[in-house]
């Protein structure tokens, strides 16, 4: 994740050419914390999904959303890793 040992010295490379993807991508890991740790968002029965109360399907959906966000961060920061 650190860029100190990139194969070439960044200063000798042409500007922007070898610029690694931004570490700001890691910010995408934050939304699940907000969405799941603030209970008043979701401690309710309605709207139901089919017969499942909101409290349950809301958290269930976050499993998928969080996995997708994690995957996006993984792919977006892969080049920093090389």
């Amino acid at each position: 994740m650190s860029t100190e040992n990139a194969p070439t010295n960044p200063r000798s490379a042409p500007p922007r050419a070898r610029r690694p993807p931004s570490r700001l991508w890691y910010g995408l890991l934050a939304p699940p914390f907000v969405g799941l740790l603030w209970v008043p968002f979701y401690n309710r029965i309605d709207p139901r999904a089919g017969s499942v109360p909101f409290f349950y399907w809301y958290q269930f959906v976050w499993i998928g959303v969080s996995a997708i966000l994690t995957a996006v961060v993984y792919f977006a920061t892969r080049d920093v890793e090389r």
Partner: protein, 511 residues
């Protein structure tokens, strides 16, 4: 209790025999020199993406999870679902932190997190504190895996302690021989049978009960949602998220999850797995829902299961539900899933505890220049001692002690966060300050659990006029961090020297 059921037992024993064979064969899988600790105790750090996925899944989602999470939902309702945010939030944390740990441990040949702390802060005492905490937190966790096996054996009508002793002797033998390769290989079977069981359960049982609507209707309204703030207490509005966050932070500090992470063949394997492991969280959410299905099926009111509930309390809910809903042969299959689900984590936990003892106690304090072969044979013996210790605990003492000890273990393990996780980013804290923080956190956390008579870990913190119920581990961690910070400032002010740092900044990045 219930009559011994021949077809259930036949299927159960057949699956158990299959994994036993796999456990012994595993020694020859991706063969390495098992007389070296990193080969026996970390599988040679050769596990790729898929094996790591099975290993970590098998390791983190234990048999006790499958029994206890629905048991909590069955008994207490919505609060039991904290397992969902807990396992959702843990993977983003792992993605951010664990690749750094993998790189530095690989570079320096560290086997345990305590090895890293030793190298980073140059303090054997701090490393010892981390290692002892890890061992203490792991022991009751192994014990609870045994409880998982005991519950399903009892549900099949098998009496006495002998079967569980036999199961554990077999487990101990192949772990001794094959090391981490055994649970890695068995984890593949474990996950297959667990997935089949859970998917069958969430299709068949709701169909029998008249659909999910009927299931949620059966839940008492007070249990269907979290208790909102009332009067001066914030109720479950703070208990729920602090339990989730504290557990998410603690999960990867447990020695057995560290072992799973460090055995992977590269940091990219760990990074990729953080996007793949949520598949198990999905499964866990379905498993949690089994608690409500057990309520709707009214298994606790069925006289056939009264003896089981009397002995195992809500932990009997899932076995009773399976007995109630499945044909006999599939009961055997699903119970084998739970029992095999106990073997994988129990093996990894005993290996992890053995690695800690060997590296951070034995080599550090008794034999600083012992050979790799000596290390490996000490670890093998230590893994036996740890397992039989856990067995004696479960057979000899009421199981409630193991459960209480395990709750305490969660509080304790979180107190290793500052040294391990902060250590990956900064050397600012003084080792003596981290030690003082750790001791304060352990003290405060244990005191809170004592105040709660070790029955719960949700401690109500009086904050001015309001009471804030929250996970004791997290409160203790705040004290821990504050003490570590203040003592560092004091030691720096008096010019106390820092120990030697064996690591370099580039050791933490990709090779």
């Amino acid at each position: 209790m219930i009559d011994v059921n021949a077809s259930a037992i036949t299927v159960f024993v057949a699956l158990f025999a299959l994994v036993t064979v796999l456990g012994f064969v595993a020694a020859r899988w991706r063969q390495g020199n098992l007389d070296e600790l990193h080969e026996w105790g970390l599988g040679g750090r050769r596990f790729g993406t898929l094996v790591t996925w099975f290993l970590l899944g098998g390791d983190l989602y234990t048999a006790y999870t499958f029994v206890a999470v629905p048991a909590l939902v069955f008994g207490a309702g919505a609060i039991g679902f904290f397992a969902i945010p807990y396992t959702v939030l843990t993977y983003p944390l792992v993605l951010a932190v664990m690749p750094r740990l993998w790189s530095v441990t690989r570079k320096h040949g560290y086997i345990t997190a305590a090895d890293f702390v030793r190298g980073r802060f140059g303090s054997g005492t701090l490393a010892l504190a981390i290692a002892v905490t890890g061992i203490l937190a792991t022991m009751p966790y192994i014990g609870l895996q045994l409880v998982g096996i005991q519950v399903v054996l009892a549900a099949m009508g098998v009496q006495g302690d002998l079967p569980i002793v036999i199961a554990f002797v077999i487990l101990a033998a192949y772990t001794y021989q094959s090391g981490l390769r055994a649970p890695a290989l068995i984890a593949v079977v474990k996950d297959a049978v667990i997935y089949v069981t859970v998917i069958a359960a969430v299709v068949i049982i709701p169909a029998k009960l008249g659909g999910y609507g009927k299931i949620f209707d059966a839940v008492p309204p007070a249990k269907l949602l979290l208790t909102p703030p009332k009067g001066e207490s914030l109720g479950q509005y703070t208990a729920y998220p602090t339990m989730a966050l504290g557990s998410a932070l603690a999960l990867f500090l447990y020695p057995h999850s560290m072992t799973g992470v460090l055995s992977s063949s590269g940091r990219d394997v760990i990074r990729r797995n953080t996007a793949m492991l949520p598949a198990y969280s999905f499964l866990l959410a379905l498993i949690a829902a089994l608690g409500y299905m057990a309520l709707a099926a009214g298994v606790d009111k069925n006289p056939a299961y009264a003896a089981g509930f009397a002995k195992y309390d809500a932990n009997f809910a899932v076995p009773a539900l399976f007995l109630d809903s499945f044909p006999s042969w599939f009961v055997g299959f699903s119970f084998a899933a739970i029992a095999i689900g106990a073997l994988v984590p129990a093996a990894i936990m005993s290996i992890a505890a053995a690695n800690l003892f060997t590296r951070n106690v034995y080599r550090e304090y008794f034999r600083p220049d012992c050979s790799g072969q000596e290390e490996s044979s000490v670890a093998k013996m230590a893994s036996l001692v740890v397992k039989f210790g856990a067995l004696a605990f479960i057979v000899g003492l009421p199981q409630k002690y193991a459960i209480q000890f395990q709750l305490l273990g969660g509080v304790w393990i979180l107190q290793t966060l500052p040294a391990i996780v902060l250590g990956l980013y900064t050397r600012w804290p003084q080792p003596k300050a981290l030690l003082a923080g750790w001791a304060s956190g352990m003290g405060v956390g244990t005191f809170m659990a004592y105040e709660l008579h070790f029955k719960s870990t949700v401690y109500s913190l009086p904050l001015g006029p309001v009471k804030v119920p929250g996970y004791a581990a997290l409160w203790a961690l705040l004290v821990n961090l504050a003490v570590a910070g203040i003592v560092t400032l004091v030691l720096d002010a008096v010019g106390h020297p820092r120990g030697r740092d064996a690591t370099l900044p580039e050791d933490y990045g990709p090779a």
